[in-house]
Symmetry: D4
Subunit: 252 residues, 8 copies
């Protein structure tokens, strides 16, 4: 609750429009009621006008359907269900008009919004195995009103693949760089791009990749400036952060 809202409540008390006891309750509990959906696991409450997000991992199909139905009953226009298994999607599709993006493991209820960001978000990956994380980023960003350009399988082992797409990089407002193994892609893009780069290490690899640790350290130590890093495999977080950067504060 910001100062303006607090001030308004206090003025109501002075004007006698509200009792101090009611104001006390309002001050502490109202935001909690408004944001009842904050009970959704692991994802911060989103602001009005943006999609609700249900973190699907560790929830039964029944639980997901229950939560989503309750949200729809409150006229929520767009709902994202992340980390949703194919099984859960199949069950949910029977009772809800679910649009399931299999690679992204995201279920969508409602209409995706038109892009209203400052520019484009480029989602680049080192290899095809990084695609589930990349699609989680891309669909998240699209659901938050961004135009997304996909640039998959441009890892540094075949540098020409990336160099052939320099114009795409040059045209981006934000780049989400997703890579497993040694994660060198993010440093290379960081050196080429003229905009913020969000590094997403993935758990792709074996042996000393240590489920993404190698890529994570690479990205944190990037010799290129302008790189911020999120948790391993956190496609949603990267898409969310990219959308924030691609919109003016408060607009989304």
């Amino acid at each position: 609750m910001n100062k303006q809202e607090t001030l308004r409540i206090l003025q109501k008390i002075k004007a006698g429009d509200m009792s101090p006891e009611d104001a006390l309750f309002k001050l502490y509990s109202e935001p909690f009621e408004d944001l009842g959906y904050a009970k959704l696991d692991h994802h911060r409450e989103l602001r009005k006008g943006v999609p609700e997000v249900i973190y699907g991992a560790g929830k039964t199909p029944e639980q997901i359907i229950g939560i989503a139905s309750a949200m729809r009953a409150k006229n929520q226009k767009l709902i994202l269900i992340t980390r949703m298994s194919a099984e859960a999607a199949e069950a949910a599709a029977k009772v809800l008009p679910l649009n399931y993006r299999e690679t992204a493991r995201i279920g969508i209820l409602g209409e995706m919004p038109p892009p209203d960001g400052i520019g484009k978000i480029v989602v680049a990956t080192g290899g095809t195995s990084d695609m589930p994380v990349a699609e989680e980023s891309a669909v998240t960003a699209e659901a938050l009103g961004n135009e997304v350009v996909r640039l998959y399988d441009v890892g540094v082992a075949g540098l020409h693949r990336l160099l052939a797409k320099l114009d795409v990089i040059a045209d981006a407002q934000v780049v989400i760089s997703i890579a497993g193994m040694e994660g060198a892609l993010t440093s290379v893009i960081g050196g080429l791009a003229d905009c913020p780069v969000i590094g997403v290490p993935t758990s792709v690899g074996y042996g000393t990749s240590y489920n993404g640790l190698s890529a994570l350290l690479s990205m944190l130590n990037s010799c290129a400036s302008g790189v911020g890093v999120v948790n391993i495999d956190n496609g949603f977080g990267a898409g969310y952060l990219a959308s924030m950067i691609n919109h003016k504060r408060g607009s989304k």
Copy 2:
């Protein structure tokens, strides 16, 4: 080198204004000449109109003075020397008009630019021990043309200190959240702010803080969305990234 520059060279060949051999040389080596300062350790070359950056760690005062003098000879208007020791600053001040920010360990040659970003960058710290990293961020951001608001010593052990400054957070375009020990500040700010948050773990702490590892893991696992993380103690990188977010692509 971007497409426009490449295209211009190719058109000169067609017009007969440049031989193919010269163009070849130009295509590969020119950016290298223009960006000779790219030899500076650890920091990506910055674009025209922005300050040059010399990474001072591991350089002798003589080397720093030599590089800076060469840059000034090329009419570079603003030069930053990061990780500059007090000793190096003292030596440099004898031969150059150095403005040394002791806490930030940054030496400045030339005039700082007026702010031209979209909004304000808030630099928040958990404790006073995080100030060197915070000042590195703040001075970097200022040198890149941003208005910076400092919010120091607002760690979560005394939550009222942060809550008393919610309006500052609410007014930010980007927040740089800097903390050592358990790094919980970044999650709390991430939950309160309505803009991108850049987490900077610091090596402040002892025992199991493991020189910033505890804070780093905290920030990467933040349950709040919209957080990107940089290397431990990397105040420069956070300031640089924040400036990119606070400017339109290409404007700085």
Copy 3:
């Protein structure tokens, strides 16, 4: 065996009521007979008047039933079976009057005691995924004679949820703070509470949460004073320690 007991034995020898050989045997082996239940895995022997505890992990349903039946034959009034699987519970329920708490994974035989502690124990969690650990703490504390207040899903990403319950925190004798991911909840509660706080990191999270390591380090490095930490997912240990703090020494 304490000094008083030892002294009594020695006095019996002097009085001729006990032979030195018998005393020797008594001195070494008697406590072992009294505390035969100490053979129960991983959990220290509990004092008289308190429930017996069977660590159910890695035991077959048959073994659990056998041990519990033997205890009941010795008139033990209350028995807890921790880390008990649903399968083991189903089998045990056929032959024993088992009260199974599914989320806590605890089976109960006998009547739960009325609360006789100094005050209330608050069990707080960052998210709903932390509930199995939280319920293990809560049921353990209740079985040891404590009034427990549950405060679930009050993670710092939505700080208002916790702030709305400050009176509950203020009214606690001990707070058990349970969180996975970045574990910041414990620092925030540690900064707000005026009583001992027990931090329980959980293995909830993915990627760099490293199965609870991130939360563990956060809690150990808490910038708030008055925090003690137990092993990852050790809900039983936290409930046990909280009960000790909420009772006078020796009373339970």
Copy 4:
């Protein structure tokens, strides 16, 4: 700020005794003024009637003297300066009536309070090298009004040393168990004591002790119940937590 205080302010508004604007300012900033000492590094603000604590590490003698003098000017009766170097103590002693405890590295200004806790706090160590951490715990607990019993050099390699002092353990309200190397002392005491045990791993050892990691893991995995653990070498934190346990909530 708790509900009662908030309510009082709101009632003043209704009564016309305070303008909404003033109330807004009061609501957010007042606790901050009252607790200005919260700026002290790394240690949570202590409540009224208890000593102020200055974290001395990383502060110059001048800074320490300045802060302490300011506190004394506000009539603070007892001030602790933790992690205070001998050099800082020597400098401070020239201008302040400093009582310096060399082993504990704690400087004291003012009178130590008489014990007013429920019972005794026992501070046990595995070896003599653990004494600096132990004294930090002991002096902290004494300054918070506790009777402290020291039980040093009772490590498990010579178990008879500990067994000879079982009556001391049996008489404690809380035991602080401090050990480096393999940290087994805490498990053994945890198995013998009938009260809460606080484990403090120390950085004593070499090779695979990894500066306290070995002892830390031992304590977290203790097969004895009733053990809470603090950060490596965190004698202050253990003393503070022990005092909380040894007092009724709010009394200290």
Copy 5:
């Protein structure tokens, strides 16, 4: 793209045979068309005349069959499918003339080339459990035109086994030394061999072998000179590197 190719394009522009716009496109995108097969996961593009490699892990039998069929349609004479499961091999064998090497988990399509390297590649293992990795190395090297000598189960616990084969070591152009557990074999061979030694740590072992970490550290710290190390279990990489060493640059 090398200088000669670039120069040729630039000369075409000057001659008017190509427009600057077309040249720009050519400069960036042409290499990408030539090397379209670079889309194959995780393995660098191989040069003409050498086998194509499909990284089979994480691909469905259908995907593998599809890619392989497309390659064969382009007259590729030899195709390797690494990390191919028995299930995938069974399915592929129904529609393709697959030669499946079960231990190596490599499927082969086409004729293996005759050896054309400088000398022999020796593949040595510490134990029989290392054979899958060893065979991956051996078959890879054979497919790249090398004569391979297998020296399995010569671990240092029975040093006589290795000493009995010193002549084989002495006759090698490169030795691939493959071992799990403590990985000492590589140091011993490094001390005996008069040629480059490639160490491949394997995940064979238990407890503190940490899935190959122990062997990896051993090999990196080898007191013998002339040893290079690849990722844990990376038999393909070792075979590929060995082949490069056993051929003149560019010949294979």
Copy 6:
């Protein structure tokens, strides 16, 4: 091959009883023939008169039966199969006179030898969950001709259990101390015993036990002297080393 054997061969050459070529072959290859069983995974070849050992992990029942049958055909009187699954044992029992020790996971073919060591080997465990490792140690030691005394479930959480058995410890020639979790048992026994102590960390525990790492570090850092440590869960290795200590060199 020792000096005496080498000398004998050389003398045969001089006497004309052996050609130099044959001698060369003999020198290098003969021990290899004698010790053909050295091909058995992971366990060093045992000397004549002692049992053969087959490391059963990762071998199919057919492979185990094949190797064991071949050994029996060479009149090997006693064969141990370690890490043998119940399934493999069931299959082997159909064709071989197998004596399967289920807890130890060891299959025995032939008669166990009578004890012929210097004294007794005590095998102690912290809890009942450590029994599989303990039995692997005990049966191994028995098969190598040692009298074994089992002392299970004497962990330090209930110290009286161990103190009640001090005479058993005092009577040992070697103690194998087996414990998971915090592994404190080994330090306590090391402080009480007057003979070599072999520490075996086990993977028993959860959370920060890190599959035995906590116990391993504890044992390596034991403040008691006279302790040697083996790999996590390596019951066989401990039994083998204990037998070596309990026999004169070369006798077994």
Copy 7:
């Protein structure tokens, strides 16, 4: 205190020769008086007839001199001071008849005993840098009455050096194998020796040797049986354990 001693005290009570109160005091405190030297850091109390040991690290020359003088006053014939700096030795030599072994960093007061063990202890090292640890082992073993054979600089990079000394290995009762870097020496010796081998990893090396971790893991994962491992750089512990093995129980 063993059963016999306890029994004797109890019989005195029965005979009226001792009051129960005195007996109680005796039972608990007497061993503590006898073993007052147990206060010495980090090294378990040694039995009668063997040297006293003072752990010199972290003690001032004055403290060392004080403790040693007190011991000599009690007619202790042989005293070892381990981890003794050259400075401490120089100071001590002025007031005590100190025999200082510089490489071993051990100071000796009194006469070294003649060897009375079963056989010889071989101390082998990988390189000359391991000598300080090796000499700590060797001098410790000699002080405990063992004949020691030194076999330095026989690392596996030059295997011939070790093979040339096989007869020394074959003649040992125990081998202490000391190595840094990759620690392969211990596996090789473990495969060649017919007696217990004690592995001592050293902190010799750089980079991924991680101060002895690489060598430690190697030794714990040794594919050779009969190897026990002690802490990194723990030469004293290895010498002590070797002496125990080389003597009958209780004889030393």
Copy 8:
């Protein structure tokens, strides 16, 4: 000792030219005499005709001078002293004709040989801070008879610097790729080069670079094939291995 040498000795025995006892001594000890310099720390003995190598770290100037003088007395023509401090060099230069390469920290005695390898060795670095390691590689390779091309400061943050030198990469027989921080250079070079690439991670960086661990993991997980890795900062090892690859077996 190879088979031919062994055979020759055996034939001498048969011919009566050598007694069996002498032969035995010869077989075991002769190589040891020939290779007496193998006592030099950490670096395997080099073959005849190549330089001797003294590992200077941890040796006093006196020791280095002594060893070098002894070698020169045996007519060794070229001697390298690696990891030689400036102080040691200054002292040695007073008594020996030392040529000291300061950046490489290598002292040279004697004439450097002319290049006799197959082709060129390229030594590339990510930044100027990697130069000490690079020069150690380069001078080592030169001393072993290789032509070396230096390509410094071509890190991926400014990719144009590397692309401008593609012809140098294309012309190499081996590339040594040296980088700290995120080590991405090695992957990029591995993707561009058509020859073996040796990755050398350096300890350059801060925070999560963990003294070279980040770069090491990157290189081990390189998505490019044909890369072998050596220990952190091991410039000597890389130069040695590169020379082996650039020469025919046995020629150097």
